[in-house]
């Protein structure tokens, strides 16, 4: 999986592309979130539009990202979930845990609200 880090209006955006799966994918996500937090990011959006598959380890890594950011006084939101990723979050009931937005713009704007 590829992760790109950029910034928009003071919000750190992580663009994920590919599979968030056990092994390399979950580690890439973990490292990207840790790096962003360690660099002082307080507001993070994960743009999921490029995610093709997420397995249970990938979902677990998203949960870890959520708790890590919260414990470090930061906030994490998800944007642009592909249908199959959204389905996974619904059946695991994690859709009730994460702040999920249809678009990146809405996710970024929500930090100002």
């Amino acid at each position: 999986m590829e992760v790109k880090n950029r910034e928009k209006n003071g919000v750190t955006i992580l663009d994920l592309k590919g599979k968030i799966t056990i092994g390399a994918g979950e580690i890439a996500l973990r490292n990207a979130v840790q790096d962003a937090i360690n660099s002082g990011a307080k507001n993070l959006v994960i743009n999921m539009s490029g995610v093709t598959t997420i397995d249970s380890s990938g979902v677990g890594e998203l949960v870890s990202a959520y708790t890590t950011t919260m414990n470090r006084g930061a906030k994490l939101k998800l944007a642009c979930l592909p249908n199959k990723v959204q389905d996974i979050l619904v059946i695991t009931q994690l859709i009730t845990v994460f702040d999920v937005f249809d678009t990146e713009e809405e996710a970024v704007a929500s930090f100002a609200a």
Partner: protein, 156 residues
């Protein structure tokens, strides 16, 4: 349906090998005529079974193998994934939907399999190790031409 699309693979216990199975599995499911959405979810369930076999069954010991069988019994897809580990009791797995478990980072693999397959059974491999059997009725493309679920239906 032709039996020559069935397969048996013995894999080293490395996560990278999951991708190899996915390639062979997808090819077989296409040839069975399974629609695209169903293929995706079978793919996800089998990925979990193999990941569990590598991580929990074989403890990522490269000397231990994961054994994957795929066959078609009438309209029913049957996939068996075996490991060479000490075995485990599925009753000990916590409920990932319980409020106290929702934020646990692990423990959703079996839930995935149960959600996306029609049946899942755990047993013991001849010679030791866990054998998980996954079953799914094949929904062919001609039965679901658009290849996706109808609005309001559940994945199954």
């Amino acid at each position: 349906m032709a039996d020559d699309h069935c397969f048996h693979l013995d894999l080293g216990s490395r996560f990278e090998n999951i991708e190899l199975v996915q390639v062979v599995l997808r090819e077989a499911l296409v040839r069975f005529g399974m629609d695209e959405d169903a293929r995706h979810w079978v793919d996800v369930a089998v990925r979990e079974a193999i990941a569990n076999a590598i991580k929990h069954g074989n403890a990522q010991n490269p000397e231990k193998k994961v054994h994957v069988d795929l066959s078609l019994d009438g309209d029913e897809l049957v996939i068996r994934v075996g490991d060479e580990g000490p075995g485990f009791d599925p009753a000990l797995i916590h409920d990932p939907l319980a409020p106290e478990n929702l934020l646990r980072p692990n423990g959703r693999g079996i839930f995935y399999m149960k959600s996306f397959m029609d049946e899942i059974h755990y047993g013991t491999r001849p010679g030791g190790g866990t054998l998980v059997t996954l079953k799914k009725k094949v929904t062919r493309v001609q039965d679901n031409p658009e290849g996706h679920r109808e609005e309001g239906t559940e994945w199954k």
